[in-house]
């Protein structure tokens, strides 16, 4: 930042000029709508199409923080964190392998991670639905070794976490890959030479080295997983409602916009908390 004092005015103008279209677009179609949601969250329930939403009240927040919603909130967080952990567990070996051993097939392998996501999101969820069904392939294969389960694995927590992991894995792999590729592998050799074992090298050298990628990937998985309601609804069933589905209900069916808005604001606060915790580490990867 020391050079800022010397940065010419024309460079500042040029940069802001280039950023202006993006700024205007996001200002109108992102910031303004989000500000409106904050305003809605302090409004009185609007029963008709009327625009008047006064008087201002915190009623919506009191309802949203009602203990009745607590299990849903906790379930959402549990799904989101389990999904993030599973994505890390699957994504790290893959990203490391592509970055270290991909050779000239790196690009092809990275593209191969993305290809399944060119089919419809819903079709993929339904594929899992079919695979996890009572007479689906997974149950039949497990039946061979006697581990099958009558009725299959649909409508379980594992089905939801599996579906979410499948849906968001590329968001973990891509930033992790960037971090792994940048990581100087000579550090690992140096660590081995200095007598550190594999475990110690992993935790002291590799993990800190790619941590920005871990943070960026976790952020890109955790937040959408916490907000998703399509996967829990289709794979978990009615009993597995999440925060996202409650918000959706308020806007689509229940018509309680202030309550839905208050819940959306709470979800945004979670985002802000994660962003603040992350700080500036990992900013270069995201």
């Amino acid at each position: 930042m020391a050079s800022c004092a010397f940065v010419s005015r024309s460079r500042w103008l040029k940069a802001n000029g280039l950023l202006l279209p993006t700024g205007v677009w996001l200002g109108i179609f992102l910031i303004a709508p989000l500000a409106l949601v904050v305003q809605f969250s302090f409004a009185t329930r609007d029963t008709g199409v009327a625009r008047a939403v006064l008087p201002w009240t915190t009623q919506a927040y009191l309802t949203a923080l009602n203990p009745a919603f607590l299990p849903i909130f906790l379930r959402t967080l549990a799904y989101a964190f389990a999904t993030t952990a599973l994505c890390l567990l699957l994504g790290f070996p893959l990203a490391w392998f592509i970055a270290r051993h991909g050779g000239r097939f790196r690009t092809v392998l990275l593209v191969a991670v993305l290809i399944p996501f060119w089919s419809s999101y819903l079709a993929r969820i339904y594929a899992w639905k079919a695979l996890l069904d009572g007479d689906g392939l997974v149950n039949q294969l497990l039946g061979v070794v006697g581990l099958d389960r009558s009725g299959g694995f649909l409508l379980t927590h594992s089905a939801v976490v599996l579906g979410l992991t499948y849906g968001f894995l590329p968001f973990m792999v891509l930033p992790l890959y960037v971090a792994c590729e940048r990581f100087d592998h000579r550090l690992v050799e140096a660590s081995f030479d200095l007598g550190h074992g594999r475990v110690s090298t992993f935790f002291r050298i590799v993990l800190p080295g790619v941590f920005s990628g871990v943070l960026a990937g976790s952020l890109l998985v955790l937040v959408p997983a916490a907000g998703d309601f399509v996967t829990p609804r289709l794979l978990g069933g009615v009993g597995q409602s999440t925060f996202g589905s409650v918000i959706d209900d308020q806007f689509r069916g229940g018509n309680n916009w202030p309550l839905g808005s208050a819940m959306a604001v709470l979800l945004l606060l979670l985002v802000v908390a994660v962003l603040v915790l992350r700080g500036r580490r990992g900013e270069d990867v995201l």
Binding site: W25, H101, S119, A130, Y166, R233, L286
Partner: protein
């Protein structure tokens, strides 16, 4: 660790299996004789036939393609400009990066309801193609910026300086030196934006108007009532096949060009 990548390779292979198993299953089931997605009763191509006769599916497919194309073009143009704007440090740059990371981290459901409220209650934008376009550009813009920016940051600015020294005007230098260097990233960003728009269910589901239902929203509405239809499975299979072919062709062309460029560079340095 370096000398024995087999264990790691095995794990990576299993993750690829996890990624591809459902897709492979979809491809198999699209040739199924019955409507069931979990039991194969016989082989037939009837769902592909019915797909091309279902006018509702084809209409919403056309709308979804137009929307994805339009939003990818807009997002790529203004996102690439923004990526260049962020190239050099200036006061306030970190503020811009915070703004640009917002669409990546705001949950879709929040963005969806916010845009619904905005269009209906504040801006008076009728739900339909326009509202969908505004929203899709807003959520895919940041992905374009991230992808292009990483390429711009890694670019050797001496190339452009050399062009300027050799008498190229800024516009010529940009057209003949800068643009070819960032073109792969711009294309990747455009593909990303297209994909995000093409596959979006949640945000679009709040903004579709009468007669302007996108394919994912149409499928979601249908699926939540009576399950997914085999036609959609057939369509998904066609899409994955088409994009795999396109991507492979792109990668092959890119590596062929890189090899030729490598040979040229070897000649120059020799």
């Amino acid at each position: 660790m370096n000398r024995r990548p087999w264990v790691l390779g095995g794990v990576a292979g299993l993750v690829f299996l996890f990624l591809y198993a459902p897709i492979a299953w979809l491809a198999v089931v699209s040739f199924n004789d019955s409507r069931s997605l979990s039991r194969i009763t016989g082989l037939s191509g009837r769902w592909y036939g019915e797909l091309f006769e279902d006018s509702r599916v084809l209409e919403s497919l056309a709308l979804t393609l137009r929307l994805a194309l339009a939003s990818a073009v807009i997002a790529t143009v203004i996102g690439t400009l923004a990526a260049f704007g962020l190239r050099k440090a200036f006061p306030g740059r970190s503020l811009w990066t915070v703004l640009l990371s917002l669409p990546l981290v705001v949950p879709e459901v929040v963005m969806g309801v916010a845009l619904l409220g905005f269009c209906v209650k504040l801006a008076g934008i009728p739900l339909g193609f326009g509202a969908l376009l505004f929203a899709h550009v807003a959520f895919s813009l940041s992905f374009v910026v991230v992808v292009v920016r990483s390429r711009v940051a890694g670019m050797d600015s001496r190339m452009e300086e050399a062009a300027a020294d050799l008498g190229a005007s800024p516009l010529t230098a940009f057209r003949t030196v800068t643009l070819p260097l960032v073109a792969p990233a711009v294309l990747a960003g455009a593909a990303f934006a297209f994909l995000l728009s093409f596959d979006d269910v949640v945000i679009s589901s709040y903004l579709t108007g009468v007669g302007s239902t996108t394919l994912p929203v149409f499928v979601y509405a249908q699926a939540s009532k009576r399950g997914i239809s085999p036609e959609i499975v057939a369509l998904s299979t066609l899409m994955v096949t088409a994009t795999t072919a396109l991507l492979l062709a792109g990668v092959l062309i890119a590596s062929w060009r890189a090899r030729r460029a490598g040979q040229a560079a070897a000649l120059v340095s020799a």
